[in-house]
């Protein structure tokens, strides 16, 4: 099919129809498992937040109101994940020659930043309450935090059960774990402390740090970077979808876990205070939770920052020098210069290379050999520049 005009490649939905756009978005959200899960969980969270808000307004409890605000804040994290998962599936166009796949990494990164911010806030709130212990009212907040805990557990179940791409960067396998833990629940029992303070009081960091996956037994569809050649298209589609949501899901999962631990911590500290009158339990819980959240976010942040900074992919790091050696041993090759390998999105690597060859060398052969060497490692887009050495 020949293009009818130069502009034919820019087929875009009619801009004037907002409804059309919205329906398009909804359709694309529902098409993919990850975004569908995120969307439904977001709706669940929002409704819970609204219920809590209305209950708080009706009963005039400032604690409940501020807790519901905190839930809304968490919903924005879910929203960011959802937006990232939708955007990353858009087709590439003139302005985005690689497509929008980086959106997933940015989504995970932004989620991580929000979590750090949350942890910082909880910590400062804890410090503030430790210095000036306020009156803490628990009667209305305990059932709310229990309900929030349940919502969170639903989220954990949904997202851990849902998508999975596993990747252990250190093993160099090319497995990507998508930890989607939609931070469900915010069941924070909001301790009424002084003034309108931020609502992250009962956040609990979760000790999730080392990607301890319990229920990841039956995951198929792992991307093995050993021998890509023979993959069927369907298999690759699965890999692609799973792999590409890894960052988002990890961020969302961390968020849900943080909320879950928050609820648990609130319940624990409430019990401690009611039964043993340990007023100090509340701020200590908050600070502990904040530290846990901060610590658990670090792997996600490190990975996203590495990708965004165009860092050499950790899974390729060890194998690359050996590849350079092999290229240099090709007949006619003098030198390998300026290698740049970076990650476009999860499991997709791009590389550029300059090879200095003798003037009489067989450029074609060198090119195809070089391509073979690097394709075996999983670099999908390779640009090899041939420079003839001056004699």
């Amino acid at each position: 099919m020949l293009p009818l005009s130069i502009k034919d490649d820019e087929y875009k939905p009619a801009k004037f129809s907002l409804l059309l756009k919205l329906s398009g978005w909804i359709r694309s959200i529902l098409a993919d498992t990850t975004s569908r899960n995120l969307f439904f969980f977001l709706c669940l969270n929002l409704s819970f937040a609204f219920v809590e808000l209305s209950y708080g307004v009706w009963s005039n409890s400032l604690g409940l109101i501020s807790d519901s605000f905190h839930m809304f804040f968490d919903c924005t994290a879910l929203l960011a994940g959802l937006a990232a998962s939708v955007i990353s599936r858009w087709r590439s166009n003139d302005s985005f020659s690689y497509g929008y796949v980086r959106a997933e990494v940015i989504g995970g990164f932004v989620n991580g930043l929000f979590l750090i911010f949350t942890a910082f806030f909880i910590f400062s709130e804890g410090v503030e309450r430790a210095l000036e212990p306020p009156d803490v009212h628990h009667e209305r907040l305990l059932p709310v935090s229990v309900a929030g805990l349940l919502v969170n557990l639903v989220g954990i179940f949904v997202f851990q059960h849902g998508g999975h791409g596993h990747s252990h960067a250190d093993h160099g396998h090319g497995h990507s774990h998508s930890l989607f833990n939609g931070s469900a629940g915010h069941g924070h029992a909001h301790h009424d402390s002084h003034h309108g303070h931020a609502h992250h009081d009962s956040h609990h960091g979760h000790s999730h740090g080392g990607h301890a996956h319990d229920g990841h037994g039956g995951h198929e569809g792992h991307a093995h970077h050993g021998g890509h050649q023979g993959h069927s298209h369907h298999d690759l589609d699965d890999e692609r979808r799973l792999g590409s949501s890894k960052q988002i899901l990890q961020g969302v999962l961390l968020h849900i876990m943080a909320d879950t631990l928050g609820s648990v911590g609130v319940i624990v500290s409430a019990l401690l205070m009611q039964n043993y009158n340990l007023m100090i339990a509340d701020p200590i819980c908050s600070m502990l939770i904040a530290v846990l959240i901060g610590v658990s976010v670090v792997p996600l942040l490190r990975e996203s920052i590495g990708i965004l900074m165009q860092r050499t992919p950790p899974s390729l790091e060890r194998a690359l020098p050996e590849c350079y050696q092999r290229v240099q041993q090709l007949e006619g090759v003098y030198n390998v210069q300026q290698p740049h390998f970076w990650t476009l999105c999860t499991d997709v690597y791009v590389g550029t290379l300059k090879v200095v060859v003798a003037p009489d060398a067989d450029a074609r052969w060198i090119l195809s050999q070089t391509h073979n060497i690097f394709t075996q490692m999983g670099v999908r887009q390779l640009y090899v520049q041939i420079d003839m050495a001056a004699m």
């Binding site: 820019e10 939905p13 959106a103 309108g196 993959h231 165009q310 790091e317």
Partner: protein, 465 residues
């Protein structure tokens, strides 16, 4: 080196700003003023921006490629800008929530004189910062901070001037650091006779545009700071002159503060006591209630201004991180002009993206007849890219094989069939490759087709930009 004074100034401003941030937080706790609190947050974000700028200056100077970071640390400034923008947005959300809470439960400001004093001090520090960075506005810092959210603390302001300037790192820093040190790649390329050595000639243009961007960013930032401090001072003054507080020793009622919503109470606790008291009618009433709502209202206005000025920064850094084609480059035209060069049969996989600031990187597969003609074509291609302002290019040559005379547009190195299904964004490439076979000999339609392979595929996913 010309960059050292930058660093000294940044350090100065950073310590000053941080000190004022601490002061403001303490004062906001003492006076229970929301605008002061938001001002202190704004100052904190300024501190972060300054730290980011410092890190960017430090790291950008070492552009040596390491094994892990082959591009050096240049992206750090873009990341810093993104972090700062996200942080500001989160702060804005927090302030909004606190303001809403203040609306439901109004609170008095205590010791408004302290508030006014600290605010004025902040304004002075801001002006000082502005003077300090005035001469270096082009030196690589533009901060599109803008709009502080009703910072109560004037001391804020001082800090805001400087950090503001450090923010539009994206455009500015790379240009300044380019001037500061020589780039690594020209040295490498001169060692071997490489077709088309790269020279960094037209960095000057970049300097001008980015310094203009910087100035504008700085101006916006300072304006926002000024606005924030002014609002805080206004708030404090109105409170001083209009509000009639309840003194502790006299009998008075504060009608603005509801008793049911408070668990912790600053002001007078006499409301409940007086409710049933017979002397209630003769008790003095505390000052006009609308004064108490002025604080959160002004904060909301400041939040809006802040968000409005932060949005461009956020968008710009996010776009760069998404590997977008830089705005000033028209891929269509680039493609056409490349095809018009002698010896170029076809172009595949053309990608142009921005590393940071003025560093643009391009990669492409160029199809030519044979290796000997490639030598000349390569130099011409490199020069062409240099004229466009793209100095780091990697061109992979593809040579025509005997059997595929009529299939100019297919990638010679089975990259298409092998790589296409594995591209995370290019499931459409496979189908497009099939379509390409139907193209005739002339390269022109092939080129047009090249840029739209993915779009031929029908899918429910639309790119709605």
């Amino acid at each position: 080196m010309a960059c050292a004074p930058n660093r000294v100034r940044l350090m100065c401003m950073l310590s000053l700003t941080f000190a004022f941030f601490i002061v403001e937080v303490v004062v906001s706790r003492i006076t229970a003023s929301l605008s002061m609190l938001s001002d202190s947050f704004h100052m904190l974000s300024d501190v972060i921006a300054l730290i980011v700028a410092l890190v960017a200056v430090r790291f950008a100077e070492k552009t040596q490629a390491t094994d892990k970071n082959t591009f050096g640390w240049i992206r750090a400034e873009v990341m810093g800008a993104l972090v700062n923008a996200v942080f500001l947005t989160a702060l804005c959300c927090t302030i909004v929530l606190e303001a809403i809470e203040r609306f439901t439960e109004a609170r008095e400001i205590e010791r408004p004189q302290v508030l006014a004093g600290v605010g004025l001090a902040g304004l002075l520090v801001n002006l000082l910062g502005l003077c300090l960075f005035h001469g270096h506005a082009g030196g690589g810092h533009g901060h599109s901070h803008g709009g502080k959210k009703g910072k109560g603390a004037k001391s804020h302001r001082a800090g805001n001037g400087t950090p503001g300037e450090t923010n539009n790192l994206v455009g500015n820093h790379s240009s300044s650091t380019d001037a500061c040190q020589t780039d690594v790649s020209p040295k490498e390329s001169s060692e071997v006779q490489i077709n088309g050595g790269a020279q960094y000639e037209d960095v000057d243009n970049e300097h001008n545009t980015s310094s203009q961007l910087n100035m504008r960013g700085v101006f916006l930032h300072v304006l926002g700071d000024a606005l924030g401090s002014v609002i805080v001072v206004i708030n404090a003054l109105i409170f001083i002159f209009v509000w009639q507080p309840c003194n502790k020793d006299e009998l008075c009622v504060n009608p603005c503060i509801d008793s049911h919503a408070t668990d912790h109470y600053h002001g007078n606790h006499t409301l409940l006591d007086l409710r049933g008291s017979p002397t209630a009618a003769s008790a003095k009433m505390a000052g006009p209630c609308w004064v108490l709502y002025l604080d959160p209202t002004l904060c909301l206005i400041m939040v809006c201004i802040l968000l409005y000025t932060t949005y461009p920064l956020l968008k710009e850094s996010a776009l760069i991180l998404l590997q977008t084609v830089p705005k000033q480059i028209n891929i269509h035209r680039l493609n056409e002009r490349l095809l018009n060069l002698d010896g170029v049969l076809a172009i595949h996989e053309l990608h142009v993206w921005q590393l940071a600031g003025s560093r643009i990187i391009a990669t492409a597969h160029i199809k030519c007849h044979d290796p000997t003609s490639y030598m000349e074509v390569a130099k011409r291609i490199k020069d062409f890219f240099h004229n466009e302002g793209i100095h780091a290019t990697t061109i992979q040559p593809e040579f025509v094989t005997f059997s595929s005379e009529s299939q100019d547009s297919l990638c010679e190195l089975s990259c298409r069939t092998q790589c296409a299904p594995k591209l995370c964004c290019g499931a459409g490439d496979k189908k497009a490759a099939g379509d390409l076979r139907a193209i005739g000999e002339s390269p022109e339609p092939a080129a047009v087709f090249l840029v739209q392979p993915q779009v031929i595929v029908t899918s429910e996913v639309e790119s709605s930009l």
